[in-house]
Symmetry: C2
Subunit: 329 residues, 2 copies
């Protein structure tokens, strides 16, 4: 079937293409009888407006680009779900881009996005590339950043204050006299880890102490598991903080085989968990960061920026700490 255009419809309905354009755009000024005729023609021909041509004429593509780190969608999946649900409401399409350290040059992705003429871009990346954002800004593309507090001209953000979360938790432990606290520092989420450490440091400082325990583990469950098994042979901590549930599980599984009891001898808390947490034993105490909301709110913010110019700002989403079986109380 040859793609039918607005001309075909116009001819069929015996009107000009301008009129057809008016009815597909729901303009009220078209006379009822004419409208019916056009709609009949559209129906008969199976006409669908060409979004590409509309995009050209309107300088507006109604699609926004989403940039995420590839790898485990276990975490980003929820963000995507939130984003898509909202994008559906506002009729935006989503162009998906992933960046993988070493594999995908982020600059290529940015280049691509610029060429695409998307209406905006939502970036969720652990390592926020100032430089890339600057380029996008130069082309005046509205940006919403997920996970980092940052704002500016045509730039908004949605984030969770990880630093404060960790600070509060560590603070409460220090109050109880627990001060052998360690943060597992994976290679994949440097930025988050930095914030976690900053939060812990602040809490320690408040107690006149200095925080310095971070355990650097290699990437991937198996590697970190092996590493941790070795590590725990001659290290012990009262509380371990990790970024992801998988890392927390690696710690727990590694110590289990050496006979360390969780939570009696070692407590464990992670920032982000997945649905698998409810299937695992012990169930991890976690902050359950609101992933779905991060996505949904980011998309909502984007639509606002697109509709009423100058709606920039950063939104701080709240978290809920949920103690489960890996902490004492």
């Amino acid at each position: 079937m040859k793609r039918v255009t607005i001309y075909d419809v116009a001819k069929e309905a015996n009107v000009s293409l301008a009129t057809v354009s008016r009815v597909i755009n729901g303009m009220e000024i078209v006379r009822g009888e004419t409208r019916d005729r056009v709609e009949a023609a559209i129906e008969k021909l199976g006409y669908k407006p060409n979004a590409v041509a509309q995009g050209l004429a309107l300088k507006k593509t109604t699609t926004i680009a989403l940039v995420i780190p590839e790898a485990s969608f276990t975490y980003t999946g929820q963000i995507i779900n939130g984003l898509l649900d909202v994008s559906k409401i506002y009729k935006y399409n989503i162009m998906l881009h992933t960046v993988t350290e070493g594999i995908t040059e982020i600059s290529e992705v940015i280049e691509n996005i610029i060429k695409s003429h998307v209406d905006g871009v939502i970036i969720y990346s652990d390592k926020l590339q100032e430089e890339e954002i600057a380029i996008l800004s130069k082309y005046e593309i509205p940006i919403v950043v997920i996970g980092d507090k940052i704002s500016g001209h045509r730039i908004s953000s949605v984030y969770v204050d990880i630093e404060r979360a960790v600070e509060e938790l560590v603070d409460s432990y220090l109050d109880k006299g627990v001060d052998d606290i360690a943060i597992v520092e994976d290679r994949t989420h440097r930025n988050s880890i930095k914030k976690m450490i900053a939060g812990a440091s602040r809490a320690f400082e408040k107690h006149g102490k200095v925080f310095q325990n971070y355990v650097q583990i290699p990437r991937g469950y198996h590697n970190s598991y092996d590493y941790l098994q070795e590590y725990f042979k001659n290290h012990r901590h009262q509380l371990i903080l990790t970024n992801r549930d998988s890392q927390a599980m690696a710690c727990i599984n590694a110590t289990k085989e050496i006979g360390v009891k969780v939570p009696e001898e070692m407590e464990v808390v992670c920032l982000i968990d997945t649905k698998y947490n409810s299937m695992m034993r012990p169930q991890l105490s976690s902050f359950s960061l609101p992933s779905y909301d991060l996505g949904a709110v980011a998309m909502r913010k984007m639509t606002k920026m697109l509709e009423d110019e100058g709606e920039e700002g950063s939104i701080n989403l709240s978290y809920v700490y949920t103690p489960r079986q890996t902490t004492k109380q």
Copy 2:
């Protein structure tokens, strides 16, 4: 910064826009000196070709639409990764669409895709909507279906023969005299379940028996867990087959609390697992369907269809059964 167009570049370089078009498309016929001048202008102005305009002129958007069920990216995530890696190589953009029963009308998504004028669409959906495929075909949009064997004019597919996988497994158990075998029938993956049952049925038939055990569970881990706990109070099976690792875990956790020993008293095998399988105890015996490859091969197939017309066909990807701790041997 006002978006610079091909005209601006042409003026800056003192050539016609046709020449600029030639150099950005890498046509060799441009004289070296001219090319340099144009490239200098492009660089100076920060010009990026407008993909929308190119799309209109070429009737080719170099973007393909991906349709997946929303919800758990834990499984589809790998498919997406495979797809994106390949799409990067061939310079295609991915438009992400999700369909959720009850929330998103699939017909709306299809409508959207048609308007977008994508070059092709890759569909991964448990319930393959013949009707939707028919509509896409009508508009002559090349399709690659993931997970179902189907092909036709401009339609290809990439799948794993689940039916055979289950048949072989069940057959081997029947050979050993184990015949109290049940399949967990979740509400979410009807199509897969149908194939699993078909496979089991064939094996049973071969042994002069008839398969009839399917346990219908509700959606979601908690619901199914509760349901199964009730169920196992007065039902026992020697072997349980599930679609996802989460469902297998629900069975295991539900029976554990009643004192059923896995794998001694009950064996469990799932079709698809995730990275969490290596963290859980017991580790599930599984088929580990090649999710990443499904995505990668599907995308590769799509590029082939797009380049050389008439490359349709269906590709059967192989699986590997990996016995772990939930089966006896």
